[in-house]
Each structure stands twice: as C-alpha cells, then as structure tokens.
C-alpha cells in the first residue's frame, strides 16, 4: 500500500511502466501465446477424475443383450422411413407403445429467414415422437433423455433401432428412479429446439409447435445418439454446445470410464489419445485436439443435438459412432451396454451434475485444463490493453501539469480536451457505434473517415484510442468469461492492432495489416486452420465458400437458436475495430 499512497513511488512505478511499456507488451503477448500452447503439454494438465460420488463409487452391471434385435428394428425403421418419405410417425408410436412407453407426438414448423444451403431446407415442418418410461414408484419429478435424430437420408437408422432396443430392455427393469424419455427428433436441431421449447413452455425463436401432452418433471441429463453403421470402431464424444457452453466435466468422465470398462475405443474431436506425450508428435497431437475444441467452442454453434439442452441447465452430450478402416470393431450390443451403464449411473444421481468443472478444455479424453489454468493465457493478452491504456492516460496527463503528484490527472482528460470534442465520452461512444454502423460501406472502401466534430488533434486520437482500448478490454474480458475460446481468438488478432495503431504509421501497410487482422479475416483463418486440423485441407476457393457458409450458418444459428456469436461480432467487436481504423486515418 505504501507503493500507492506514496506519490513519489507511485510516480516511479508509472514512469517504469510507461518507459518499459512496449517491451512489457511484447513479452505479455508472447507469454500469453506460449502459455496457451503449453496448456496441451501433458505434465501441465490434470488427469480427469470423477467428482460426483453418486456416480463414482456405485457399481452397476451392464446386461443389455439385444444388439442384433436393435439392428433389426433399425432396419425396419429404415424401411418405414423410406415408405413414409420422412419420419414414420405411426410406426414409431406403435412400436414405442408396444414396448410399454407412454407415447406422445409434437408437430412443429419453422420458416428459416433464408434458405439453408448446407442442409437444403427453407420451410421446415416435422414431427417429434417421444415415449416416456415411467419409473416405478417415482413421482414424475426427474427425468433423463435419450434422443436420436431421424435424418432424411439413410443415416442414423441404427441409432433409432438401438434407442428402441434400449427402451424395451429398460422397461423391464425395476431399478429406475427417474423417468426416461426416449425422443426421436426430426430435422435435427430444429426439431430438438421445438421439443425443448415445448417441454419448457418457452418460445424464444419464433417456432410454431403444438404443446406437449406428456412431461416428466425436470430433466437431469441427456444423451444424444448418432450411429450410422452396424459395427463401429470407436465412439466420439461431442461436448460443445450453443454459445460455447459445455456440460459438466463429469459427463465426459462418465463416458470415458465406461469406454474403458467395456473396452470400447473412444475419441474426442475424432482424435484418439496418444501415450507418447514426451515426443513432438504426441505434443502436436494434443495441441491439435485442443485447438479443435477451441475452434468449435469459439464458433458458438451446437455441434450435436445435445447442444441446445445446455441452455436449460441440462447436462448433455452427443455420442457418435465412427466406423473407420481399423481392424478392431465393436458391435451394437456393446454400445447398448455402454449406454445402459451410463444411464444407470445417471439414474443413481441424487443431485444434478454439479460437482465437477463447467469450464474446461480437453487436450485428450483423460486430460483436462480447468479455467484456472487457461485464464492466465487470456489475462496476459488483456494486460496489454490495460498497459497501453495506462500509457495513454499518463501521456494525456503530463502536458497539462496540474500538480506534481498526479492527483489532478483525472480532470485533464475529460475537461481539458473541450477543443477536440464537445460531447461527453458516453455520448461520443454511442455516436461512434451508431455512425460506424451506418457508414460501414464507406469503411469497406477504405476511405478515411472523420466523424468527430472539431479539429482532430493529437489529444483527440489519444482519447479515442484510450476509449477503444478500455472498451476492447471490457468486451474481450466479458466474452472470455462466457466463452473463453472466442475471447482468446479475438484477443490474439485484435490486441496487436489495438496496441500498435497510431495515425503516424505508414498508411498503406498498416491498413493492410489491419484488414488482415480484422474479425472477418480471423474467421477466415479459423476456417482454414479448422480444416487443416481435421485433416481435410481445402483450397483457397473452397475455403472462401466455406467462409461464406460459416457466416450464413452463424446468422441462421442466431435466428434459430439464439446463438450470440453473430451479434457479438457484428454489433460489438466490429465497431471496436472501426474505432481503431479511425485512429489510423486520423487527421
């Protein structure tokens, strides 16, 4: 405290910070990147462990026998699906009723704001079918969900077959304490959204749906199943949900534990775990896995049907069967036993999953990086913004020479600069955002803009930059708290721009650099990196097409499911970048 209450020492500190500002910033930036890359290094990460006692110590036996019959049901389902040209509602209702479930349907329709070219749909109309297994002697207060999407093409029939097989097997057991809802949803996420909104009687996306007739209390956990072949080589776990939300880590632990118990190969981000962490390849592999997770999370899209559950505080994940060219195959009975085991453990839960982490990154299925470990990487980047802001603050304060001790430094900024602009800071900010929004097309044409009334002085751009820096720091900070990956990726590109930009730089080169580091280009790079990491590299033109589809998907996700990435980028991040652009072309 002496450091701050003693004016002289404080001054020494500020001079130190201003003098060494640039080196410190560079060090912070490099340290931030290095810290982030170090997260994937195995000795720095933690091994996953089951935190929830109700799932950890209790023993369950898996006895599901009827994989073959489930596959036969799946084939029957495929036949009826082909005949009906869509969801075979009547057949599903009858089949579920025969298995002793209470069956209900829900029809929904939704017109997209513009045609979705990836999935070739515009006017969506469909029916969800779900059956509820009522747990004996349970008062309908808690439920678990097992869902399988009914896709229009010939995929995923095995998932529906296995779902029905499990329903039949589960119905004969006495040990259920929570109702189990078996849901077959049409039109993947749109159907799921309709069902969830119907179940919770909300309407946030303007969907038309018929109200649900049967409910089973508050849903505790959900699993979505995707299975397109009779045998599989591995099971992939998908965690990333809407707005980068993740389910509780215990759900991933549960999956991993059962994969190991039953002997099924399991992956995350489609990547197997390697044991050679101390080699360069092993490390690269872990980095790739983690980067894939970061990119998926940053996209804010639901990467499986489970993604929409997370908004309702329901822990959910998607389990996807992968059939590759490996030798070792797993049959449906084993997958059924795995799901049975997971459901029995979830059935044993006394409370919602809450013991383990909600914020984490996974470099492999058995290793995780918790929020306490990855946040410093972002913190180092955000420090740069604050240091630059401090530097500017001091620079703005010195010429006025109010007092020696710096107490009077508060006034000069807001009062002494009346020459540069007439309105208070807040007013300017709103003004800036609105104007920058309206005048976007001019910016795209790279015309230097001036929309602050009065003469552009040295003081003027400094104040503007100070505002921009603080604004960006707050914006990125909030984003990183909600969705670390998005905040970090934006920080990597925007922080250098914000730190370096002044009107005195060579205009053409810096303008080019700024465009290359703009949010739009960041998305483009992410598309390429993502494809590269998925081992499906694309050419430039393909990449451009993908980039366009990513943007249209982002807008669709926003209007259909309420994803926040599009409005965040368009309304908050992009105007901030425009502020920086204005500083570059300050006159």
């Amino acid at each position: 405290m002496g450091l701050l209450s003693d004016p002289n020492r404080r001054k020494a500190l500020t001079t130190l910070l201003t003098r060494l500002n640039t080196p410190i910033c560079v060090v912070c930036y490099l340290a931030g990147i290095a810290w982030f890359m170090g997260l994937a290094f195995e000795p720095f990460t933690l091994r996953t462990y089951m935190s929830e006692n109700a799932m950890g110590s209790t023993m369950v036996e898996e006895r599901f026998p009827a994989g073959e019959r489930a596959l036969a049901t799946g084939r029957e389902f495929a036949g009826h699906k082909r005949k009906a040209g869509g969801m075979p509602v009547d057949w599903l209702v009858k089949t579920m009723q025969d298995r002793g479930l209470e069956v209900f349907t829900q029809s929904f329709s939704r017109t997209l704001p513009f045609p979705d070219e990836n999935k070739e749909r515009y006017m969506v109309r469909g029916i969800n079918v779900y059956g509820i297994l009522r747990a004996p002697r349970a008062p309908r207060t808690e439920a678990l969900v097992l869902s399988a999407p009914c896709s229009p093409d010939n995929s995923n029939n095995q998932a529906v077959g296995l779902l029905l097989g499990l329903a039949q097997y589960f119905r004969n057991q006495i040990y259920w304490a929570k109702d189990i809802i078996f849901l077959v949803n049409e039109h993947d996420l749109i159907g799921m959204q309709a069902w969830l909104e119907g179940y919770h009687h909300t309407n946030i996306s303007g969907m038309d749906y018929t109200p649900l007739q049967g409910r089973a209390g508050s849903i505790q956990a959900a699993l979505s199943l995707e299975l397109s072949s009779d045998v599989i080589t591995s099971l992939d776990l998908i965690l990333e949900g809407l707005n980068g939300q993740l389910p509780n880590l215990d759900l991933a632990n549960l999956f991993h534990a059962f994969c190991q118990k039953i002997g099924v190969m399991c992956t995350i981000q489609g990547k197997l775990q390697r044991s050679d962490w101390d080699t360069a390849e092993g490390y690269t592999h872990a980095v790739q896995t983690m980067m894939l997770m970061v990119l998926k999370q940053a996209s804010g899209r639901p990467w499986g049907d489970h993604g929409l559950f997370l908004r309702y505080h329901i822990e959910a994940a998607t389990v996807r069967g992968v059939n590759s060219f490996r030798q070792y195959k797993t049959d449906t009975t084993t997958v059924g036993r795995l799901l049975e085991g997971m459901f029995r453990k979830l059935n044993n839960l006394l409370e919602r999953l809450h013991q383990s982490y909600f914020f984490y990154l996974m470099p492999s299925l058995s290793r995780f990086v918790s929020i306490g470990y990855y946040m410093p990487a972002f913190g180092l980047l955000a420090t740069i913004l604050l240091l630059r802001a401090l530097d500017l603050w001091v620079q703005l304060g010195t010429p006025t020479e109010v007092t020696e001790d710096g107490v009077g430094e508060v006034e000069p900024v807001s009062i002494n600069n009346q020459g540069s602009f007439d309105s208070p800071l807040t007013h300017i900010y709103i003004d800036l955002v609105l104007k920058s929004w309206m005048l976007q097309f001019k910016v795209i044409c790279c015309s230097p803009l001036r929309f602050i009334s009065g003469e552009g002085t040295e003081q003027g751009w400094r104040v503007l930059k100070l505002v921009a820096l603080l604004y960006l720091a707050v914006l990125l900070g909030c984003t990183a708290l909600i969705n670390f990956s998005l905040g970090f990726i934006l920080a990597i590109t925007l922080v250098p721009v914000a730190a370096c930009v002044t009107p005195h730089l060579p205009k053409a080169v810096s303008a080019l650099a700024m465009v290359l580091l703009s949010p739009g280009c960041t998305i483009l790079y992410c598309v390429f990196i993502f494809q590269e990491l998925q081992e499906a590299p694309v050419s430039l033109s393909e990449g451009w097409m993908l980039f366009l589809s990513v943007i249209s998907q982002g807008i669709l996700d926003h209007s259909l499911f309420g994803s926040l990435v599009y409005p965040l980028l368009a309304l908050l991040v992009y105007p901030c970048w425009l502020l920086l652009w204005n500083i570059l072309f300050w006159k």
Partner: protein
Amino acid sequence: MTSGCFVARVAFGVDARVEKPNDVTGPVSSSEPGQSESAAVSSGGPVAAPVSEADEPAEAAAGGAVSPPDQCDEELVLRPLRSGDIYASFQFRTQWDTDFLHHGKKVSHYRLFPKSLGQVLSKFSVRELHISFTQGYWRTMQWGQPFIPSPPGAELWVWFHNTVEDVDGNWKELVNVLSGIFCASLNFIDSTNTVQPSASFKPLGLGNVTDHRFLRYATLPREIVCTENLTPWKKLLPCGSKAGLAVLLKSEKLFHSSFHSQAVHIRPVCKDWQCTSTAWELRQTLNVVFDIYTSGQGKKEWSLFKMFSRTLTEACPLASSSKVYVDVTDNPEGELFDLSPVTPLLSTAVVLGDRRTYSVYDLTKKETFGQLRSLNLVLRWKGESGDMLRPLLHAERYVAGFGLQTGEIHTLIYNNHPYRAFPVLLLDSVPWYLRLYIHTLTVTSKTRENKPSYIHYQPSKDRLRPHLLEMLVQLPPHSVTEVTVQFERALLKWTEYTPDPNHGFYVGSSVISALVPSVVAMDTNSTQERPLFSSFFPTKEESSYFVRVYTEPLLVNLPTPDFSMPYNVICLTCTVVAVGYGSFYNLLTRTFQVEEPSQSLAKRLANVIRRIRGVPLL
C-alpha cells in the same frame, strides 16, 4: 427418513419418563387426568402396543364371549387394468364404539382399536385424522381413478375439536407423535408447510364443523415410503400381519410395484342409521399397482401368489367380514380374461360414477378355499385389451421457463365430459421460497379467460408460512383449463439449503376436488334395463360423485451457491480486511513532513552497503 425416525424416537423418549409402565392393557381407571394423559402418550413403543392388545380379544373371541361391541372388516379389491397392470386395494375398517363426544372423559379401554392411535385422539382432541404415505404417482390416464387418492409423499390433514384453544400447539405436538408412530419424517411439518384450506378439505365424518381454523393440512412431497413405514402400519391391524388378508402384505413384493400408497383415516361415524350413538372409525387402506413388465414378466397373467408371493388360507378371526372382490365389469362373459376359481357371488355397486360388477370371495366361508385349503386367485388375460376410457377429470402440472431467476407454474385441468361443465376446487400450497406474482395469475379455458368464482389467497411470509391459493373454477365441457402463475426464486440463507441443494426443492401437489357428473347418468344402455319410472331424473347419489385429483409435485431448482463458498468467503474477507485495515491505518497514523528530494535508487543501495561497511554515507 432415518432422521425422522430418530427425532421422533427422541421425542418419545422425553415423554416416556413417566411412572406408568407400558404393559397396561386392561382399563386404567380413576387415575388423575394429568397422569392418564401422560400415560396416554407414554404407551412406550406405541408401535408395539396394539399387537399385544390384539392377542387378548382374540382369546375372548375364541372363548365365545358375548359379541364384542367393536368390530372390524377387511376387504381386498382387485381391478385388472386395461394396460395389463393390476390394481390391488386393501381396506381394513375397525370401529371403536366409544362415546367420544363427552369431552374430558378419558377412554382407556381398548379392544380392537389400536391404543396408540386412541390415545393420540384423546390427548390432542382430534376430531378427524387423515394421513397417507405414497410412493409413486397415480397415473390417472392409464389407471383411471383410485378408490382413495393420495399425493406422492406424505399427506396429513386433521380436524381438531372446536374446543381446542391452541390449535397450532396441538398440531405441532401431534405431528411429532405421529412421526414416531409411523416412523416417518412428519416432524418436518411446521408452519412453513402447513395451511388451513377454506374449502377443499371438509370433514368426512360426523359433525358440522366447517370453521377452517380447526383444520390443518400439510404435505411432505419428498417423503420416501418404505418398509419402515409399512411395519408400524401393519401393527395397527387387529390381526397384525398374522392372519387374514394382511398376510399378503409382504414388503418385498409390495415395493416391487409401480405404485404404493398406504393410509390411515380416522373419523367419527354413526353406529346405526338413526345416529343415536356414535363410534370412531379407523380405516386403513393400502393401494398397490403391479406392473405387467417388471412384476409380470410381460405376461398378462396375474395371481395372488405372483403378486404377493402368498396365498390366502383364512380370514382374520377377529373380522366380522372378510372379502375379496375382483372387478369383472368389462368381462361379463369371460371374453377378456379367465378368472379362477369361479365364484357364483356377484355384487354390483356404483363406484366413482360408474356401475361396476364384482366377483366376491367370502373368506369367512370355508368353501371359498376349496380342496387345497388356500385361495389363489388367477386372472389370465385372453385378448388384446382396448384403450381405457379417458377419465373425466385429470390434471397435470409443470414448471415453465429456464434460468434461475423466474419461472411459471402451469396447471392444466382436463374436463373430458362431452357436454357437462362442472366446477372444481383447486388448492395450491406453494412454499415461500417461490415468490408467487399473484397479479400474473391467469385462468384460461378454450383460449378465453375463465374467471374463478371464488378465490382464497393467503400470501406467504418468508420463513413462516407458505402461499395458499384456493380457487373455484368452472370447467367448460370437453376443455383444458390452464392456470398459470409466475414466480421468482428466492435466494436462501446459506443454512437454509438442504444437504443436497442441487437436487432442487419440492413443491407439493395441487389438489383438485370436484363433484364430477357421473358416467352412469351419461350411459343410455343402463337406463334401458331399468324400469322407465325409475330412470328419468338421475338419482342424486348417482348423478355425480366426489373426486379428488392430485397433480404431480414439482422439483424446482433455486439459485444455489457453490458450497465451497464458506472457504472462499473466509479467505476473501480476511484479505479485504487486512488490506483495507492496513492502508487505512497507514494513512491515518502517518504524519506528513517536508522531505529532502529523495535520492536515487542506486544511491540508496550504495548507502545501505556503506552503512553495513561502516563507511560514511554519500
């Protein structure tokens, strides 16, 4: 559960410190009122007492003594359900011929009536007592109406005598005593979950008291019912579980079912039709539904042995009647199921607005048991069963919305009668930590607002009493009426959270009481068989019937802190206090003075070294 038992035992332990020994089975005469009162409660193991009593009248009956004034009946009704499940309902009725209306006169002679309950009645001046323990939810849509409905968990409602002055005090003691008798956590009933409904719960017995100041109603939706509740319940029976229908009550089978409910109802009734004298009636009911898939191995074939792993061999020797009824209404010519052994006895009754036919097996007759001296009813389904008739009245409830700040309770009430509208009384008791926004209360049926003709609303008081909302709503024919009300989730104090806060908090079932127009009145077939003069106006007792429907309880998540919080709080506060105190102390105690321009860091370092070396400073 366990804690409930434990606490209750402790309560008894305190009360049991009295002079009277426990083995008082004969009349306790001419003792001082205070003493006898304490003795009333002191009957020690109240659970054990009735059994020893049951033996004595048994001998008396066997010895051919004069016909005893008390009587008991037992019956079992089996109703095969369309879904393939089977519903078994036991009722045991014990009448205690005592003149309870003379207040102040202590009754101490017990024969069939369990002493533990009798003492409770007299000590707490109870007029009527209804208690039920239920595990599971009655699926009205699949099973129709139960004979005696009950909500999941425990429900207790009591009418006290109108001479009682401190009703709340009596209620508090009573729940603790009952908690011990039934080995349940009834001691968790306190003012925060007790309400006084103004209209929904009227006395079922004699008497014309309708002042709801003497009524207390409480539910514990979280209560889990298991064998430890069944055992004390069985011990209240005159024959215990040793003879009669009660031999079927084996817990390993009763709890291998879809639904289990046990109840005790005590009320005053008339002894004869002129009501010249009165008696206490104790009705013990036990309802259980066996599931075709989990208990029946998927086969539509039921027998007493398969359901209860026992067969019947005798009636309870103390019972004046002991019968088994099987509902054969849907099966007049045996086309749906086979019932064996066949009985010639048939009985017809209007039950819940529907005329039902029952095959009757009288256990007091020897021929019922046949050659094998045991009765094992077998019920074998033949054909596919059709869909069940939609029940005329049913209801459901759920919480809408997401997030931890607000929510909305939706109650849907279905009237499936094709042309008759009827009023229902809706009772909602919501804990205080859901703060109801009563201005958002809406009642809509058929998309139009449906104004309740009577609303009784009592707002909650934090940590003192719950919300009580009673409404009389007219249900239009063939409609769904939706009652919605928004609420805010309160932030509790950290000691108020349950040990498992992330499980959520329960809100008890809403109760819907109604006089439902009878199906019999609707049915034109039945009128054809009857004389024309008898069938123009529907007779009163058949035209409508009383039904109580319970909705499912709700599980609501409240905003829950991370309970490693105390640790964080301690750390944070200590840091803040230390830092804040330090700097303030520093600023307040510092004296400012003009100082020489300070030396540079290097110079100061050099001075320090010089001082150590003992060389003059720079």
